[in-house]
């Protein structure tokens, strides 16, 4: 539902003066509810991009979302879509079942890095190996956001988190996992890219990639995954603008943006 206009735009159309026309309004695929995300959290941005793409492709009535466990656990409350909630990390397995039973539906999962790259690594790798024709929106903010900012498999080398107070040491805690690069080598994967939401230009590129990922599924080419570098101002102990700078300056060098596999 569009927000109530605070001042009547229509009043500006009289006497031959130029008409102010709406160029951006609230997407139909989102519900007009208050989200629980922290101020400045880019989960909201990514929700909006996915909703805009679904609106533009005209597939809202036949799209199914599988929600994750993590900060986005209430995504089914925020999207105006048919949705279901998977056990932690099991969204690609549930999406596999949905897509195989309902092959005409568009099925996507929305997962964080704790969900997809940690407890759910098994599920995403085997969904990719089977070449399931699903779309995966993978939000990487380099920490476990919901549980208090502990180190994730995607935390940066040297990153201080609540469970790595001296900084992540790759010699002890290992190196960050690069999911799209890993999946790009598998024949069942048709689209594997990484994008970011740290600036207006990057947000626009991210939307194009999400659109391409859904188009890949519509064309039946194989699994499509978009990893999106996202901010976590609360657990990074930063202000929202500083968190976007952290993505640009610290995360992008470790997680390079780009296309790792594009078929079709």
């Amino acid at each position: 539902m569009p927000p109530v206009l605070e001042r009547p735009i229509e009043n500006q159309t009289n006497n031959g003066s130029p008409v102010l026309e709406p160029v951006y309004c609230f997407p139909d695929s989102l519900r007009d509810v208050h989200t629980h995300y922290c101020p400045g959290c880019t989960h909201g941005t990514i929700h909006r991009l996915v909703a805009e793409v679904i609106d533009e492709l005209g597939i809202r009535e036949r799209t199914l979302m599988v929600a994750p466990v993590g900060c986005a656990v209430f995504a089914y409350e925020y999207f105006n879509l048919d949705s279901c909630e998977a056990a932690h990390g099991r969204a690609p397995a549930m999406a596999t079942g949905l897509k195989r039973v309902l092959p005409d539906q568009i099925v996507f999962t929305y997962q964080g890095d704790g969900d997809l790259a940690s407890i759910g690594t098994n599920e995403i790798i085997h969904a990719a190996a089977r070449g399931e024709k699903i779309t995966v929106i993978f939000v990487n903010n380099a920490v476990y956001g919901m549980t208090g900012g502990q180190m994730a498999p995607t935390s940066l080398p040297g990153q201080v988190t609540s469970s790595s107070p001296a900084g992540r040491n790759p010699a002890i805690q290992g190196h960050p996992i690069h999911i799209p690069e890993m999946l790009a080598g598998m024949p069942g994967v048709a689209y594997a890219v990484r994008r970011s939401v740290h600036s207006v230009a990057e947000i626009r590129k991210t939307k194009k990639a999400i659109r391409q990922a859904f188009q890949t599924q519509l064309d039946g080419l194989g699994l499509s995954i978009v990893e999106i570098l996202s901010s976590c101002p609360t657990n990074w102990r930063m202000d929202p603008a500083g968190a976007l700078d952290f993505i640009r300056d610290q995360m992008v060098p470790v997680f390079p943006l780009g296309d790792f596999k594009v078929i079709g």
Binding site: Y24, T45, P240
Partner: protein, 76 residues
């Protein structure tokens, strides 16, 4: 110059301030008052009519606070 405006849903705003930094004409500022959730929402300070409806505030906003309007065809 193309004219436009934005309509702000002040109850959705969480006061993160990302839009303030990206507005090319610095037309956005945080209210001193609070909305129902206790945040200082953003407001448009455009008495000179400088807003072009470019929409970058709507692109950066994580909470879909903005609706963007832009000058279109002329009705005679």
């Amino acid at each position: 110059m193309i004219r436009g405006t934005v309509v702000i849903d002040r109850e959705r705003c969480k006061g993160c301030g990302l839009c303030v930094g990206v507005c090319p004409h610095q037309l956005l500022q945080m209210e001193s008052g609070y909305n129902a959730r206790g945040y200082h929402p953003v407001q448009l300070a455009d008495s000179a009519g400088q807003c072009t409806g470019c929409g970058v505030c709507a692109v950066i906003c994580p909470d879909v606070v903005f609706s963007v309007y832009r000058e279109g065809r002329v009705k005679r």
